[in-house]
């Protein structure tokens, strides 16, 4: 059994996972345990300082020191991590992390700060197909963060507020920046904050349900990424998936945010074990 770390460098947060495993490769999952995770928000701080701090917290949480770590694997913008040993593509890292958190998952919906992606995989955890949002940040995490700021609520409050909506406002896909005006107009028309948020969530969910449909995702889908924690978005997604007749059931795990980092750590263990076998 070896200890490995996975570092998922996103555009708004850095996620670190510390795992103990034997370096098996799916479909053989072997014994694997998640020892600790840590998240650091970048905001306007130096990403390197956020990385150092987040990594130290994760190791401390796992009760290990840097020299105990057999392999440091990255995913996302891994170039930031000078001490990495290997890098894994976002799709394979997320698929592996999702399989660890939810073994029956056959797809992943990763909703991040700038992009969303739908990844379809087989029962062995192999990536079969994926679709990504591009060109436009409408519906992204940054989009929702902007909306929350325009409404004067925190991103953590958004989910509960949205779920309290009684008559959701109809919102069509709107620009993440021009939304400021749209939101101000809604407020000045007297529309309640929960109804605005629920409308925004519904418009986001519409985009992500279409993404899932275009990746032909079916069966259990694990929602990951920073927005997986948003209960309002998850409620809207469940509704939208049904409305669009996508035959998928949404799953969520408290560690969903760290799916990419967990997947990188587990793939890192596999690569380490393979390298050791070769040199033996």
């Amino acid at each position: 059994m070896i200890v490995t770390t996975g570092i998922d460098v996103g555009s708004s947060a850095i996620k670190v996972a510390v795992c103990r495993s034997d370096g098996a490769r799916p479909p053989d999952d072997g014994p694997a345990a998640l020892l600790a995770t840590a998240e650091g928000r970048i905001r306007r701080r130096d990403p390197r300082a956020v990385l150092a701090d987040t990594y130290a917290r994760a190791l401390e949480g796992a009760g290990v020191v840097a020299s105990d770590v057999a392999y440091v694997a990255t995913t996302g913008e891994g170039e930031l991590v000078g001490f990495r040993r290997g890098h894994f593509y976002g799709m394979t890292a997320h698929a592996r992390g999702a399989r660890f958190l939810c073994p029956e998952a056959r797809a992943v919906l990763d909703v991040g700060a700038l992009h969303g992606r739908a990844i379809r995989m087989d029962e062995r955890g192999r990536v079969l197909d994926y679709r990504m949002t591009s060109q436009c940040a409408s519906g992204s995490g940054q989009f929702l963060e902007n909306i929350a700021r325009y409404l004067g609520v925190t991103i953590e409050e958004v989910g509960e507020l949205s779920r309290g909506s009684t008559s959701p406002e109809k919102v069509s896909g709107i620009c993440a920046v021009l939304a400021e005006t749209d939101v101000i107009n809604m407020v000045s028309r007297g529309i309640a904050v929960p109804d605005i948020l629920r409308g925004i969530h519904a418009s986001m969910a519409n985009r992500y349900a279409r993404l899932l449909a275009s990746a032909r995702a079916t069966g259990p889908v694990l929602v990951t990424g920073g927005l997986a924690a948003d209960t309002g978005l998850r409620a809207a997604l469940a509704e939208e998936v049904e409305r669009q007749r996508v035959s998928a059931t949404l799953r969520h795990d408290p560690q969903s945010l760290h799916a990419g980092a967990i997947g990188a750590a587990l793939w890192g263990a596999y690569r380490h074990a393979r390298l050791n076998r070769r040199s033996a």
Binding site: S11, P47, L114, Q135, C136, A137, S140, Q142, F143, N146, I174, C175, A176, V177, L178, T181
Partner: protein
């Protein structure tokens, strides 16, 4: 006569409301009578308008669904870089080697800038690239509306930005050849002037006839 983004909120009867496109065309014609093409870059939208010799709109294209290419693009970037809006143009003009911004979306451009600053690229070069990017968006809107004819009048808040104007001059010369480019210090009133002229016509024309 009322016009503009908030025209529907004015307590005017319907016949005293004109679209901002029509008013911009006529207003630009009033400021510069030889105008045949108008580009208006405001905070929330960008309009490319072709007018005839009387200042009447013959075709137009408008972007009001996406902040890329509008004044708000530069406003968002200014916030991202902790700068005032009025500082952007002069800084961009000090650039030695403008970078090519690859993102279209304003939010993605903001993230791209953070990366570029982390890589050590200069604020000036990045800003010059951003000014070129906003004008490239305007050029495609102009092309879809029918091109850039002589004379060409540039209006809206972004016309006050020297780096934006310089980028526009360069791109117009590259893509359409020599054009007279008009910019009025009163350009923010273009729509209001057009509306006032429509009001004059309405008063002079017999009631019931089309303006």
């Amino acid at each position: 006569m009322g016009t503009g983004y908030g025209r529907s909120t004015l307590p005017f009867p319907r016949e005293q409301i004109r679209s901002e496109i029509l008013c911009h065309g006529l207003g630009a014609h009033a400021l510069f009578p030889a105008t045949r093409t108008v580009l208006d870059i405001g905070g929330q939208d960008t309009k490319a308008i072709q007018v005839d010799g009387e200042g009447i709109v013959t075709s137009f294209q408008m972007n009001d669904r996406c902040a890329a290419g509008c004044g708000r693009y530069l406003g968002y970037i200014a916030d991202e870089m902790n700068l005032g809006l009025h500082e952007l143009g002069p800084l961009a003009q000090q650039s030695q080697l403008p970078v090519k911004i690859s993102s279209t979306c304003t939010v993605f451009a903001g993230a791209e800038i953070r990366d570029r600053l982390t890589l050590g690229q200069s604020r000036e070069d990045i800003l010059a690239g951003l000014h070129r990017a906003i004008m490239l968006r305007a050029m495609s809107l102009l092309a879809r509306s029918g091109g850039v004819s002589d004379e060409f009048t540039f209006t809206g808040g972004v016309a006050k930005n020297p780096a934006a104007v310089a980028a526009l001059r360069e791109l117009v010369a590259e893509n359409h050849g020599e054009r007279t480019i008009n910019i009025s210090p009163d350009s923010i009133y273009t729509g209001a002037i057009g509306a006032a002229l429509f009001a004059v016509r309405a008063v002079r024309a017999p009631a019931g006839s089309a303006a």
